[in-house]
Symmetry: C2
Subunit: 313 residues, 2 copies
């Protein structure tokens, strides 16, 4: 895999492989390991208070000399505090999601920060481009965790983004091996963002029981629920089945919100509570069979990519 394109240049990375900034998963250990292996690691600030984000940035800087970034959900009430941490620590790469891409972009741009926004349809992508983003992540409905309401798949979303935009597109959702990377590039993406596969590595801070559940997963083990109050993909469990049933019966947003309660992601991913938590994971979970180190995984992805080239003649 020798690729030089707008994404490798934008971030000054060796491989156009980006590790998604996942809640409860992407701390400094995972992020620095990915960046040290030639990809781009992203700290997932979504599950961090500003002080904790600061700590992870400091530790990540100590663990790698390579570029890394931070993923920030723009809808967070304390987003200004998160941004202040980023500015103080001179972070140069921000991936933003869940909110208007233009809202804080001036803060980023006047500090020479590269900004990438996560989108799930063409309209959002054009908005991100017009707001001044340097690239977008196009995230298909295969992805674990929160998803766009239009349920566009990676296969259909990526080429439509590529045709509509002048800025480069990073593909996300369902990419778990080298075949997926080459398929995403074939569709016109210039990089890939990989989530669940990186969540199941030695350096990931996800609970070992969460990792085990992904390894046990088959092709039909994930489900998409909570469509009325914030759709998310997760490993099927008693909780998701209860929600599915309520949704089939037409439950109101109030009932669903009460049933959801709080801290389901923390319980599922960080505490490994299968019964009560949300074990957010992508539809590609069935392809994940082991818990490698990040270094092993990156070598494997590159080898699989090179090997899959013969598939395309």
């Amino acid at each position: 895999m020798i690729i030089q394109n707008r994404i490798t240049k934008l971030f000054d990375i060796h491989f156009p492989i980006i590790q998604a900034g996942m809640v409860w998963v992407s701390g400094w250990k995972l992020v620095s390991a990915v960046s040290n292996a030639g990809g781009l690691g992203l700290i997932g600030a979504g599950s961090m208070k500003p002080e904790l984000l600061h700590e992870h940035i400091i530790k990540c800087k100590a663990a790698t000399e390579n570029p890394f970034g931070v993923n920030i959900p723009l809808l967070r009430g304390d987003v200004k505090d998160l941004i202040n941490v980023i500015l103080e620590e001179d972070i140069k790469i921000v991936f933003s999601s869940a909110g208007h891409p233009g809202r804080h972009i001036d803060d980023f741009k006047k500090n020479n920060i590269k900004v990438v926004h996560v989108v799930s349809n063409v309209k959002q992508a054009i908005k991100a481009m017009e707001a001044g983003c340097d690239a977008v992540v196009g995230e298909g409905v295969e992805a674990g965790g929160h998803n766009g309401a239009d349920e566009l798949t990676t296969f259909c979303l990526i080429p439509q983004l590529v045709d509509a935009l002048d800025i480069p597109v990073i593909a996300a959702g369902g990419i778990t091996d080298g075949r997926g990377i080459i398929a995403a590039m074939a569709l016109g993406a210039e990089g890939v963002q990989i989530g669940t596969r990186f969540a199941v590595t030695k350096e990931s801070s996800a609970n070992e029981f969460y990792k085990q559940k992904i390894i046990e997963a088959g092709d039909t083990s994930t489900t998409l629920v909570l469509k009325k109050i914030g759709m998310a993909r997760m490993i099927k469990n008693g909780f998701s089945e209860e929600i599915s049933k309520l949704e089939m019966e037409g439950a109101s947003t109030e009932v669903l919100k009460e049933k959801l309660g709080t801290k389901r992601e923390m319980k599922g991913i960080f505490e490994g509570n299968y019964e009560e938590g949300m074990m957010e994971a992508g539809q590609g979970s069935g392809l994940i069979k082991d818990i490698p180190s990040v270094s092993e995984l990156m070598k494997r992805l590159v080898a699989e990519y090179d090997n899959a080239k013969k598939n395309v003649g």
Copy 2:
């Protein structure tokens, strides 16, 4: 696109491009044009009585000397009569869907018919392989028309099928241009089945107004409804919105069946009735912008495929 693999050999075709056997769309004109252009055309028997199927087979034979096949929904009440037409007319390629792949396979196999079954998850695919099918079509939830309940996407379904099977996999769902073909091959498919893109050609028997609606479609123009009684993807219209609303409110299967009524596919696709019909179409509709002849389209797909090779380094 110079590809020689198990799929091109199985059907004795030049390109591993198969035109889906679509109801109200895939008559002898479309099928013979695809086979004449080096792909594999499939007559869509789903919307034909046995006599009409017989007529289309006779006309197709007169219009091409190349191989073509027939798609048969195994759940049809008169499936035996359809099969008799196929045996009498010495058809050598059958794509079966919607039913147990083993049910009529002896009839096919003792007449040296190549049999391909359409599947939407790994379990169904293994069943098809064990029943003796020569290949499977793995159809992702991007596809137009009826879809598997597990909602697996092409990106996630195909590699999992490839890993689980010894027989070759044909990818379907969301493939509308050469980039899609190369992506499907990268994921391990050895052929592609393309639906909506072929429905919007000069030789397709879909209504001109249906074709126009696909051309006008954007990335978010299709929707997946009728989950409780037989999920289908179609262009959004007043009918689909009514169904969506009922589903969100928890409507019963009885209410939904009554609302669905009969002949919605015929009305939408064949009669071009946007208000009352179901205009079944894939999520890739937003990539379709014109009504070429099949010959033009096939040349374009091959050129796009060759061009997209540079995307993968």
